[in-house]
């Protein structure tokens, strides 16, 4: 599965896109990501699945889903 990164997360994870082994729920996605990148636990971000923001951790995922991690941008 591909996970696109935005904003500060690109710097923290030092990439624009990461590959992870397929997961079946958003909750599992977060768990896998936090194990691989512990610093994510301290980061604020929202998850988008196929260009739709998903706040339901039980949301089912498939291998083809496009995932995006979107941190808030607060400058202005």
């Amino acid at each position: 599965m591909q996970v696109m990164l935005y904003g500060v997360l690109k710097e923290k994870l030092q990439d624009e896109m990461i590959e992870i082994t397929p997961v079946v729920t958003v909750q599992e996605l977060i768990q896998i990501l936090e194990i691989r990148y512990p610093l994510l636990k301290e980061q604020r971000f929202t998850i988008a699945v196929n260009k739709k923001i998903c706040t339901d951790n039980k949301h089912a995922l498939t291998e083809e889903d496009a995932i995006a991690l979107l941190p808030p941008f607060s400058g202005g």
Partner: protein, 239 residues
């Protein structure tokens, strides 16, 4: 009604079929509050005043610093050390003396939000911190007003329209629920910024504001727009 002078001034946008004389009168009758007169607020204010928004409110308690000048394009060297809201009013009066500008030399907080926001039809978020955005999120629902969010980080920007009649109640909290003890994103002073980025996002906010006032349906309500200055890509995420 538009005066002959107003008709002449706004003739190019009146010529657009979706605006016309009726649309220009809507802009003239509109009251827009811009919260923050910095990197996002300066371009938004310039275009709102230029477009003939009848009443523009500016809320900012800050003073101009020399490091603001590359992106806060309402100000010049002579503005350094002066109140941003006052300087913005002075410049806007020169750009379009037909616009009434109301100044609030204070930062928006939960204590003053209702008093300042209640007199306006649309609120533009041009702040540089999350706390103020949660205040605006709460009070926009309470006061039944749409607000236009904008935010930048380095080379990327975000924009959305919240609490619009098309998506009543949908707000910033629906993307980023308020949480304690989380890392606060860096503002432009800490992260660095190229002035054109807030320039672009601020102009997008002014465009959304004008679309809301004109009653256009294709406003960015229910969407989080993400713009990347390096790739020039714009993506819209459904909320």
């Amino acid at each position: 009604m538009l005066t002959p002078e107003e008709y002449k001034r706004y003739s190019k946008q009146v010529a657009l079929p979706q605006i016309g004389l009726g649309g220009q009168q809507k802009l003239k009758a509109a009251k827009v509050l811009v919260v923050g007169a910095g990197g996002l607020g300066c371009p938004a204010l310039l275009y709102l005043a230029g477009a003939g928004i009848g009443t523009i409110g500016i809320a900012d308690g800050d003073v101009v610093e020399i490091s603001n000048l590359p992106r806060q394009v309402l100000y010049g060297n002579e503005s350094v050390g002066k109140k941003k809201a006052d300087e913005a009013r002075r410049v806007l009066a020169s750009i379009n003396p037909m616009v009434k500008v109301v100044v609030y030399e204070e930062f928006i907080t939960a204590q003053n939000a209702e008093r300042i926001m209640q007199d306006f039809d649309v609120v533009i978020d041009a702040t540089d911190n999350l706390e103020t955005r949660y205040v605006m999120d709460e009070f926009s629902v309470r006061l039944q007003k749409p607000w236009i969010f904008g935010g930048v980080y380095k080379y990327e920007g975000q924009l959305s329209v919240f609490n619009h009649p098309l998506n009543k109640g949908v707000g910033y909290k629906d993307i980023y629920p308020k949480k304690e003890n989380m890392n606060t994103p860096e503002d432009c002073n800490l992260a660095g910024v190229l002035g054109v980025l807030p320039g672009i996002i601020g102009c997008m906010q002014a465009a959304e504001c004008i679309k809301i006032i004109l009653g256009m349906n294709d406003v960015m309500s229910g969407k989080l727009v993400v713009f990347n200055l390096q790739s020039m890509q714009t993506q819209a995420f459904e909320i």
